[in-house]
């Protein structure tokens, strides 16, 4: 049996037909062809698939597409400004060398934005703890942590 699903993805209304077992990440990658969201483990461990659902970071490999019905989704493709200017978190990853191969990066950036939202001014220890569900094989995390702290400070300064 197929089900109709509708949601807003990066500001655009989308809809499609899915099986009940279709994962949200499959819907995003295979139906919508937004392949910025990665699948690193498929077992809820690595965080490569992190997206925002109604503004909150979640692992899209462990949600059914149907669980996102009616929700507003933000993926890495929707983060930059319409004119192409990078989001402060993306810019900070670039400035601080927060990526090497880039596989974990979409999830890291989306989780970074979520950390900045929830814990303004988080210190290094807090940021490291908050990254418990995001795994990077390359960088050793140093640049990632620096990027998140830097962007978080800039995002809050811009708001104030």
């Amino acid at each position: 049996m197929e089900y109709n699903v509708q949601m807003t993805v990066n500001g655009k209304a989308v809809s499609g037909k899915v099986e009940a077992r279709t994962l949200l990440v499959q819907f995003i990658r295979e139906h919508l062809r937004l392949t910025g969201t990665h699948v690193g483990c498929d077992t809820t461990q690595c965080g490569c698939c992190v997206i925002h659902v109604d503004g909150v970071a979640m692992k899209s490999c462990t949600m059914l597409a149907l669980q996102a019905d009616g929700k507003s989704i933000l993926t890495i493709e929707g983060l930059a400004a319409a004119d192409g200017a990078l989001h402060p978190m993306q810019q900070a990853f670039r400035d601080h060398h927060g990526l090497q191969c880039g596989f974990c990066t979409p999830g890291m950036v989306m989780m970074g934005v979520d950390i900045a939202r929830r814990l303004p001014g988080a210190d290094e220890k807090t940021v490291r703890h908050q990254l418990e569900g995001n795994i990077c094989r390359c960088t050793g995390y140093q640049g990632i942590v620096e990027a998140i702290m830097d962007a978080s400070a800039k995002m809050h300064a811009a708001k104030a």
Binding site: D42, T43, T44, T62, L66, Q67
Partner: protein
Amino acid sequence: MHNFNYHHAADIADAALKLKVTVEPKLLAGGMTLLPTLKNRLAQPSDLIDLAKIDGLKGISVEGKEVVVKAMTTHAVVAASTDVRKAIPALADLADGIGDPAVRHRGTIGGSVANSDPAADYPAGVLGLDAVVETNERKINADDFFTGLFETALKPGEIITAVRFKIPDRAHYMKFRHPASGYAVVGVMVAQYGAKVRVAVTGAGPNAFRVRAMEDALEKSFAPASVANIKIPAGDLLGDIHCSAEYRAHLVNVYARRCVEALVK
């Protein structure tokens, strides 16, 4: 993943009805346990009944000497609740230590308690804080709730609606965190209610349990030394690739002592 039918329940009565009329149904809460189980094909339900759209199953309230957490409240919401932080900081800390932020944004107290995973954190909170598990049919005391490995007193078709925690004079929760998953290799909750003390352990046995010998000793004298020499028999505990039953028995002792240390500091 095998396929299944998917339903939204409009309210608790609707969920109960759908549980009755489908062949082999399962409730879906946050999906942080159920979806990984389905991916591994360890279960094959015919129908998933999603509780997410039932507004009445979400939220936290303080009612007299109790904190009531409705079943679909996520770990993140419990961790961030100023009411919980004020009334039972140990419970906020427990919720904040579950998995990682993305898991806490979806996983719910109802799903965690219903699952009775031997390594889950909430069972130590439910048992240590003398909670009552409320379902659509009855109220179940924590002492009667966890009955075995992934087994509870819940009957087929029964739905957890809320967990009612008794506010202690003081309480502390600590776990030896599995470095990869975050689950409790061993977790201990120590809570004091006047002259009474409860010591609840998760991670170590097939299901969460109380350590009466430690409770008695702490009721006589609430000090780290009271529990330091109380050994837990390893015979009934879990040994697996992570560590032996003897090591877990040792950890129970260490973490109980550290909880008391934190409380008397």
